[in-house]
Amino acid sequence: MSRTFIVHGVSVIAGLVALTLSGCASFRAAAPGDPLEPVNRGIYSFNSTFDHYLLKPIAKGYDAAVPNLVKTGVSNVFQNAADAQSVVSDALQLKGAKMGDDLGRVIINTTLGIGGIFDHASAMGIERGNEDLGQTLGYWGIGAGPYVVIPFLGPSSLRDAVARYPEGLYDPISTLSSVPVRNSLLGVRAVDARVGLFPAESLMNQAALDRYTFLRSAYLQRRQSLVLDGKRPKDE
């Protein structure tokens, strides 16, 4: 019963790509928290190929061609949009102090920081709340659920994947009315995010025996840590 539910949920999220690729992966005993490992590994290798041939080369080109000052400005604009979304999640978790910080950040950076290009708030020592809807669900006691790898987007949990949809409804970038502007910005945002992953990627390549497992473990641990606001559950 629960298995059909999970498979159904993922097919909605992952779409046909997942199902066609799942045929290629061999079956193994499932790791805890990752009952869909064969499917996930298929999508992971699809994503790696997509990244290798398209996203990473573009990100490398962007990283090399664009001056640092501009790159920082671009990152800041997207981060400012994310901070604005964070305010909603702060409120939903009744975290008043964080909400004040994030709201303050958005107001300062949007005005003084000229539309978010400059991150004056960080310089003033106002910390980023760094909240999202997936964390909000976690805060209210909803577990991560099975680990899922989303085509093109990468590691997620069922909970975090589900939270992406409503979160997109108030994303300042994806709700822009001009389609060409919106799509260009979404593209640049993906490239900017990819550039941000370069240091972590080289660390992973150095450290990991099996990148899929490395990434899964790091993702699930990081998300749990974010849900708990940095507090750690006692090790078993």
Binding site: S122, L203, Q206, Q221, R222
Partner: protein, 199 residues
């Protein structure tokens, strides 16, 4: 004013020299001393980052003595540790240590321009297992929390057995990886993979 500073400096150096070797260093002090020893070299001699041999020497002298690699390996192996023969355990510990040192040297470059904040340590008297919390401040204003789990060894010295970066425990991460390899293959296959990685 300057004179006083100088005197204070000499006095502290003299105190350090006078301290008996067996004196117990508090765990947070130990972390701070080790981290400072490495970052100060990176600042005074940035060229070291391009010199793998010298970098390795620095890490082996300043950091390695503060880690308990056998315990780290044991924790990363989890239930599989008992399944490994003593020879396999020795080989695993050796290869895991090499891998961690190499990964760490690679990551050091990004630490050069960062400052480290040390959070106050909360430790009950007689405690033998503590977490030292630090925050590495990046140039962009965002801090990365890095926690060190330390255990008091029989000789009274504190040794680290896990590093938790932004909530991601090194030991837990490797436990998942080791588990996967052993689940699908064997302990020997894991040793072989580590050796291949370290080549």
């Amino acid at each position: 004013m300057k004179r006083n500073k100088l005197i204070a400096m000499f006095a502290s150096v003299a105190l350090l020299a006078l301290m008996p070797a067996s004196a117990q260093v508090a765990p947070d002090e130990m972390v701070k001393t080790a981290a400072t020893a490495v970052t100060s070299v990176l600042k005074s001699d940035p060229a070291i980052l391009g010199n793998p041999a010298k970098l390795k020497e620095l890490i082996e002298n300043k950091l390695l003595p503060n880690f308990n690699f056998q315990r780290m390996t044991q924790l990363a192996m989890g239930r599989n540790w008992a399944k490994a023969s003593p020879e396999q355990q020795t080989a695993l510990t050796k290869e895991f240590q090499t891998l961690l040192v190499r990964t760490y040297s690679g990551a050091l470059a990004s630490f050069r321009n960062n400052t480290i904040d040390y959070k106050p340590l909360r430790m009950a008297a007689g405690e033998t297992d503590v977490t030292v919390k630090t925050v590495v401040n990046q140039a962009n204003g965002q801090g990365i929390p890095i926690d060190y789990s330390l255990e008091k060894a029989a000789d009274g010295n504190w040794k680290a057995y896990d590093i938790i970066v932004a909530g991601v425990s090194l030991v837990t991460n490797y436990r998942d990886e080791f588990n996967t390899v052993i689940r699908d293959q064997s302990v020997d296959a894991l040793i072989k993979q580590l050796q291949a990685k370290n080549k």
